[in-house]
């Protein structure tokens, strides 16, 4: 069986070969919802960029659920006394293709920025102790749960190691894979301080 034959069989196995296109009015509505749901609100605190005021709908929907930031195949749980924040994941955009150069301006768009030290690794869960807060609400303890590696083919997961301190950002509930998070280093710290200082 050649690659072409195999691909043909795979395409024929597509469970959804002919999904009807979105109706134009539905698309307009989606665009409208997107734009209005992230407009600045009067109750939001001041911030360097207006579109970071509002959290995405996922955060509101999740309510009392736990916090998740997928870092590649992992998930960060920011637990704060039973009232955690939900964060979502950013795909591995790839170093070459889609990552803009990391600047204080791009970093400043993050909703959450903090430093944390890994205090425990057990059963696929990494526990971190927050040591510094640069932006957003971050609990004293952060847990990273190694989640569905299968869901994420690749990405650029952070390798979290016992005793190491990391600088971490999440933008709109999303930890980026474009260098906005990493081991606490003078270079990254300088960017954090320029962005959030």
């Amino acid at each position: 069986m050649t690659d072409d034959d195999l691909d043909r069989r795979l395409r024929a196995a597509d469970p959804l070969p002919d999904l009807p296109a979105l109706r134009p009015d539905r698309l307009d509505q989606l665009l409208e919802d997107t734009v209005t749901s992230t407009a600045p609100t009067s109750t939001a605190p001041t911030s360097s960029t207006p579109d970071t005021h509002r959290r995405p709908r996922a955060l509101l929907l999740a309510g009392a659920a736990a916090a998740v930031v997928a870092v590649g195949g992992g998930a960060l749980w920011l637990t704060a006394g039973g009232d955690p924040t939900v964060l979502t994941a950013q795909p591995g955009g790839g170093p070459a293709a889609s990552c803009a150069a990391l600047t204080p301006e791009t970093l400043a768009r993050s909703d959450v920025a903090f430093a944390a030290r890994v205090t425990g690794i057990a059963g696929g869960t990494v526990t971190l102790e927050t040591t510094e807060r640069f932006a957003g609400d971050v609990a004293d303890t952060v847990e990273v749960v190694q989640g569905d590696a299968g869901d994420v083919v690749d990405g650029a997961p952070l390798e979290l190691q016992q005793g190491t301190t990391y600088l971490l950002t999440a933008d709109g509930g999303t930890i980026g894979s474009c260098g906005g998070s990493g081991v606490d280093s003078p270079e990254l710290r300088a960017l954090f301080e320029a962005a959030f200082g």
């Binding site: 597509d14 665009l31 790839g94 590696a149």
Partner: protein
Amino acid sequence: MRTAPDQRRADLERVVRAVVEPVRRHLHRRTDPATADDVLGETLLVLWRRLDDVPADPVPWAIGIARLQLANAERGRRRQGRLALRFGGSEPTSVPDPTEPVAGRLDDAAVVRAALDRLRPADAELLRLATWDELTTAQLAQLLGITPNAVAIRLHRARGRLREELGRAEPRPDTGLRGEGTR
């Protein structure tokens, strides 16, 4: 002349028109329609917030966002399922699987899907992304953050493994290829 917000909205619209159908198809292949719609909304919100970061080819980028949003939605649902079990003692409602063969029909498509399900998840997903989502090698490289060469190698290996699975399946195509625990 357009004001800045108008320009931003126009930029969003341009990006959304380019990505909305590929993203919708990606999602509807992998989850139920309600979740697909929710995750599409979440994905557009991320596009809107990160409009300045949209790369030249926005499709793999948007699909990358969508698949992680979907992974989070699924995780949330599993958490809810676990809570329901813990407090209510009842089984969580299972979500219909759009890839389930209709009325047990075991045609070649079902055989191929079953073989895909037996591969390592990363291999299966790579093949789905390449053939169902029709992403090119360059787009896969962008999505996965690896070189096109590495994509080609992984695809080659994944195809080889799928061939092996299909070879294993074909002598006995009538033995419940999608039984419990295959996903």
